[in-house]
């Protein structure tokens, strides 16, 4: 009897397990179909074993044409420039090679010829430590791309429009201050200088906001090129000497005997160095010195910008590279957005480098840019 009861209860429990399994399969199927994003499951060879309607719609394909086919063969994937991605660089292939999830933005070319931007995440399906397939989830990001484009355009136009009136102010006051239209009294000079400097602050704010907006929009792509850093720094210093004279600041450049030629985005590095020179100018007392020092060995290239200015207190150092951080010091009325260093650090991070600071209150500050002498990647 006991035996029979056992049989019955086992059968019942088998049934419960089977029904639970069926239920969970059904739930998984429903989830797969209704998640609202394209979803594809492949086996360990990359052949499609399951695909949902959204995926078919995005790719402009029919189910019968894709099931059990090798995934990279059913649709062409392209990069931003319209170049076809080699099969080995397709996200799905990468996952099988590395065993790690891949997130990418690519373009699909539909059979109709239409190009669709998509964001794709592919993860390996692992069993006992080995991939037995992959799942790809993806979505059409046409609207997102359009929004980004509109935002970039807005930033570009807005900054241009904000700079234009400030430029007119700068030129007209500049003409008077620089003696193009006759002599002025000391009192007039002092007042116009105040107006000129205030306008300069406004220009700096626009420049900083623009730089940060660009950095934030994921558009911060580096254009790495082989650059003569010795020449670049000499050129920047030459441009700054005129401004530095206004505060009787001496600007020295210490360069190694041989030209330093490295791979970097010269425009971005120039912006960072200029930002550091602007800061050194702002936070230096009259008649002091600022020194740019360049050094380079096989692995690291260093650009240091050191001043003999007001310095930064130790407690403030950690805040320095944060967004909108402003630090109180004797010259902090000099103004600024608190964005310059945040953004400078981001640019250096992008170069796989480091931006460091050494400072002593009342003695001076040195910013050190450390860059890899050889960039791991080149555009």
């Amino acid at each position: 009897m006991t035996h029979a009861t056992d049989e019955v209860s086992r059968t019942n429990s088998d049934k419960t397990i089977a029904s639970a399994k069926q239920h969970s399969n059904l739930a998984a199927d429903m989830l797969f179909e209704s998640i609202g994003e394209g979803a594809i499951i492949t086996d360990e060879n990359g052949d499609i074993s399951k695909i949902n309607d959204v995926a078919l719609r995005i790719m402009g394909l029919k189910r019968k044409d894709v099931l059990h086919k090798w995934y990279p063969s059913i649709i062409t994937a392209e990069d931003e420039m319209g170049q076809e991605l080699p099969k080995l660089e397709r996200p799905i292939t990468e996952v099988f090679i590395t065993g790690l999830p891949v997130y990418k933005r690519i373009f699909y070319r539909r059979p109709s010829g239409e190009r669709v931007p998509i964001a794709v995440t592919v993860s390996p399906l692992m069993s006992e430590g080995r991939p037995i397939g992959a799942i790809q989830v993806f979505r059409d990001i046409t609207d997102e791309i359009e929004l980004e484009r509109a935002k970039d355009e807005f930033i570009s136009i807005a900054s241009h429009q904000l700079r234009t009136p400030a430029t007119v102010v700068k030129q007209y006051i500049g003409m008077v201050l620089e003696g193009y239209v006759g002599d002025i009294t000391d009192e007039q000079r002092a007042m116009l200088t105040t107006a000129y400097e205030s306008n300069e602050r406004q220009i700096t704010i626009v420049n900083d906001l623009l730089a940060v907006a660009q950095a934030a929009s994921n558009k911060l792509k580096l254009n790495i090129e082989t650059t003569n850093l010795t020449a670049l720094l000499s050129h920047i210093a030459k441009n700054y000497r005129e401004t530095y004279k206004k505060k009787a600041l001496q600007l020295h450049v210490v360069l190694p005997a041989e030209d330093v030629v490295v791979d970097l985005d010269s425009n971005k590095i120039r912006m960072v160095v200029e930002n550091l020179l602007d800061n050194a100018y702002k936070y230096s007392e009259k008649n002091t010195e600022v020194t740019i020092t360049l050094g380079s060995d096989k692995t690291v290239t260093t650009i240091a910008v050191g001043d003999q200015g007001v310095g930064i207190e130790e407690k403030d150092l950690p805040k320095l590279f944060q967004k909108f951080s402003r630090i109180d010091n004797p010259l902090s009325y000099e103004g600024g957005t608190g964005l310059g260093l945040y953004w400078a650090k981001r640019l250096i991070d992008q170069h796989k480098g480091e931006l460091q600071v050494e400072s002593k209150s009342g003695v001076g500050t040195t910013f050190i840019i450390k860059l890899p002498t050889h960039q791991p990647y080149k555009s």
């Binding site: 930033i155 570009s156 400030a166 007119v168 620089e178 193009y180 420049n207 660009q214 005129e242």
Partner: protein, 123 residues
């Protein structure tokens, strides 16, 4: 003999300011309000300017359109160009890199005297 400057700028206030400054610095200044006017001048003049200050965002013909057409004309290749614009977006900067002989200066970053130095530096 004074240096001949062609100033291509659509903003009348800036055109006036730069004309004043460069005239005082003993340049001969010719002005154009857009790329088309500049190109018309260059094609018809007997004596080409030594240097061009070129704005980018202008009606009728932009600075970039001007550069494209201008570069196709071999007679004009020796004129130095200083691009002076308040556009500084990545796309513009990258496009300008194609034109290797041009110097780009951000308009809001130079005082009148600095602008004169920048022009003298490329001459």
């Amino acid at each position: 003999m004074s240096t001949h400057l062609l100033l291509v700028e659509d903003d009348p206030l800036l055109r006036k300011a730069f004309t004043t400054v460069f005239t005082k610095e003993n340049f001969t200044v010719t002005t154009a309000e857009n790329g088309k006017e500049a190109l018309d001048f260059l094609r018809s003049t007997q004596k080409l300017p030594d240097v061009i200050i070129l704005d980018l965002l202008m009606p009728v013909m932009s600075g970039l359109e001007f550069l494209q057409l201008y570069r196709a004309e071999t007679a004009l290749q020796n004129i130095k160009i200083l691009i002076l614009s308040n556009l500084s977006d990545e796309k513009t900067i990258q496009t300008l890199k194609k034109y290797k002989n041009e110097t780009y200066t951000l308009k809001s970053n130079v005082s009148p005297r600095q602008l004169v130095s920048a022009v003298r530096a490329i001459l």
